[in-house]
């Protein structure tokens, strides 16, 4: 191995190491904190918990309302994802494959809409939900998340659907598909990688979203995990150990989902449809 190659290898490794520690550093710190006995929390050294303890996890899981809040989070994220699909898939199909008047304007409007800073909408939405009488309910959170997930869903899926060759769509019509049939038999199977990616991203967005969930909820009846974790503060001290443990627990579902569906994001599924 000549020195040039070695240098390149070292530089690459260094960059990679920097990136990984930047991405994983906070998470590892969190993990260490979650496993440290209460007494060592504010001490350094020891860097590593000695001995590691599950006391914070036990405390979190046993805390009143934690399971309720976790269930809220699951409900909000799953429902948001389903709503985004139910409304977004037909819209994206129409924009991608039908002759829709003002197509460009609609797409541009969607993009503009998703560029509004979140904070600008908080107050109006808060007032709106008070008037509707659904403040402090999971539905308020679901509606808000869906409204923000939809432009992204429609925009991304439109692009995925456009990738599907027009001849396939024409062939399906000749073969006897209605629009629903084309969606079911041709578009959805071929856009599966896109659907999986969009679904995951929407789920993660909704799972992690804090600002709206914080504003629109008031009690454990409707709170989601990020809000609950932020409100963990104790009477006299901030329970860092419990916060860290809860954060770790909250991260697990998204990591599991990503690993589960990663296999489904198969690229090149459309290969062989046309010429090639």
């Amino acid at each position: 191995m000549d020195w040039k190659q070695l240098l390149r290898w070292l530089a690459g490794g260094l960059l990679l190491g920097l990136f990984v520690s930047f991405a994983l550093g906070p998470f590892i710190w969190q993990l260490i904190t979650a496993l440290k006995p209460a007494g060592q929390l504010a001490q350094l050294p020891p860097l590593l918990p000695a001995p590691p303890t599950a006391q914070h996890f036990v405390a979190v899981l046993g805390a009143p309302g934690f399971l309720r809040v976790a269930a809220n989070s699951v409900f909000v994220a799953v429902t948001t994802m389903l709503l985004a699909f139910i409304l977004g898939v037909p819209a994206a199909y129409a924009l991608a494959k039908l002759q829709v008047g003002g197509r460009q304007v609609i797409l541009a409007a969607l993009l503009c809409f998703s560029m509004f800073p979140a904070i600008a909408n908080v107050a109006p939405l808060y007032l709106l939900f008070i008037h509707l009488g659904i403040r402090d309910s999971v539905f308020a959170v679901v509606i808000t998340h869906s409204v923000f997930a939809l432009p992204f869903t429609v925009w991304t899926l439109t692009n995925f659907f456009q990738e599907i060759p027009n001849d396939l769509y024409r062939a399906a019509r000749i073969d006897g598909c209605s629009h629903g049939g084309i969606l079911r038999h041709v578009v959805l199977p071929l856009a599966m990688p896109g659907l999986v990616s969009v679904g995951l991203l929407v789920f993660i967005f909704s799972w992690n979203e804090f600002l709206y969930s914080f504003t629109l909820t008031a009690t454990e009846r409707s709170r989601t995990l990020p809000v609950a974790i932020a409100l963990f503060a104790g009477l006299h001290e901030i329970p860092w150990g419990e916060i860290a443990a809860a954060a770790i627990l909250a991260t697990i579902p998204t990591v599991v989902l990503v690993f589960l569906f990663q296999r489904r994001i198969i690229s090149g599924l459309t290969a062989g449809a046309v010429k090639g």
Binding site: D167, L168, I174, G176, H185, A273, V274
Partner: protein, 364 residues
């Protein structure tokens, strides 16, 4: 069942894509629409298939009016240039797809898939997906998906243009055989004049959305209706020269490149002279060595060898002329030769309109 087209037109924004006053495609015919890209030939196919709605006009298949029927109720099958196979389905699933949508019993479907795949020589491929197939195999599957429905009309949109030359020649032959075997109407669209000539019973030559000529391959090649049709067919293409048609008591003459050719008896031409374009097919030009005394003296500027034939690039009075000779005739660039053309081989076109001129011999 004949396909009757009446007053068909399709307008895209401010452009008339297709305009056909009247056309009947007969039961069992191999009918080809040929023309350059943008001539409206694919649009016609889409209109027949129901993938697009006509701006005006009626489409009738036998007694049935097609206009208001959705594509799958028209009894037509479509073979796409891109094959348009469903990439997520296997070959047999691709073949079965239209039948499943038509709610045909499972057992019948299985039987037909078997029958079609073995008749097309793809029986060993039924469990593969399109991505695992070669271009020719994909083309066969696409054909199979059309055949399996037993349609009344087959529509082909440039089905061979993605294949390489040897495969294309073979598929051409197979298409012809398939047509004979099925005895169903084939409507075929291509931009390839050779393909049109070799496959079709009848050809409609399209330009700018209109049919320029609709006739047998022999007729569109031998008696082109206008200059466009004449220039579209033939390789190398027809030679064109400006000339003058002259009527005199001695008969009708063409004044062409310094020579006056007697082309017929008296004709009722009026006025007495007329500007024309003379068309000469390269294979109609006879080349002789300089020692001959007849014909136009010319010099060979360039030779192009095409296997058994040589294309000779010549010029008359600065105008290029292409001739075809046997390759073993041994001509060389720079050689002086003489060229003759039988007057009966000349094609005359109105210089203004481009329409074919036919002179009636006055004696008859």
């Amino acid at each position: 069942m004949d396909l009757d087209i009446t007053n068909l037109s399709k307008q895209f924004k401010d452009q008339m894509a297709v305009q056909i006053p009247s056309l009947t495609i007969r039961q069992g015919e191999f009918f080809t629409f040929v023309g350059p890209s943008g001539s409206g030939k694919s649009t016609i196919l889409n209109l027949i298939a129901g993938l697009e709605q006509p701006s005006t006009g009626l489409l009738r298949l036998g007694e049935r009016l097609l206009n208001d029927l959705p594509p799958h109720k028209r009894d037509v099958a479509f073979v796409f240039q891109s094959y348009a196979l469903y990439p997520h389905l296997t070959v047999s699933q691709n073949l079965a797809f239209p039948l499943e949508l038509a709610h045909i019993p499972r057992e019948t479907i299985r039987h037909r898939v078997q029958e079609v795949s073995s008749s097309l020589g793809i029986a060993t491929l039924v469990d593969k997906r399109p991505a695992q197939l070669s271009g020719g195999e994909r083309q066969r599957v696409a054909l199979g998906r059309a055949i399996i429905r037993h349609p009344h009309l087959f529509l082909f949109d440039e089905p061979l243009s993605n294949l390489d030359a040897p495969l294309r020649a073979q598929m051409r032959k197979e298409l012809r055989q398939l047509h004979q075997r099925l005895n169903t109407t084939f409507i075929y669209v291509t931009h390839d004049q050779e393909e049109a000539l070799s496959l079709s019973d009848r050809i409609a030559v399209m330009q700018a959305g209109r049919i320029q000529q609709c006739d047998s391959p022999r007729a569109v090649y031998g008696q082109p209706a206008n200059r466009f049709v004449a220039s579209f067919f033939g390789s190398p293409p027809m030679n064109f020269f400006p000339a003058e048609l002259q009527a005199s008591p001695e008969g009708t003459f063409v004044q062409l490149a310094g020579r006056r050719l007697h082309i017929g008896e008296l004709s009722p031409l009026s006025p007495k002279t007329m500007a024309v374009t003379v068309g000469i097919r390269p294979e109609d030009v006879r080349i002789r060595r300089e020692s001959a005394s007849e014909g136009w003296p010319m010099r060979i500027s360039h030779l192009e060898l095409h296997g058994g034939q040589t294309y000779l690039e010549l010029s008359i009075e600065g105008l290029p002329l292409t001739a075809v000779e046997r390759a073993d005739a041994g001509y060389r660039p720079g050689e002086e030769v003489r060229a003759t053309v039988g007057v009966e081989r000349l094609h005359l076109f109105d210089a203004q309109t481009g329409a074919r001129l036919t002179l009636k011999a006055s004696g008859q």
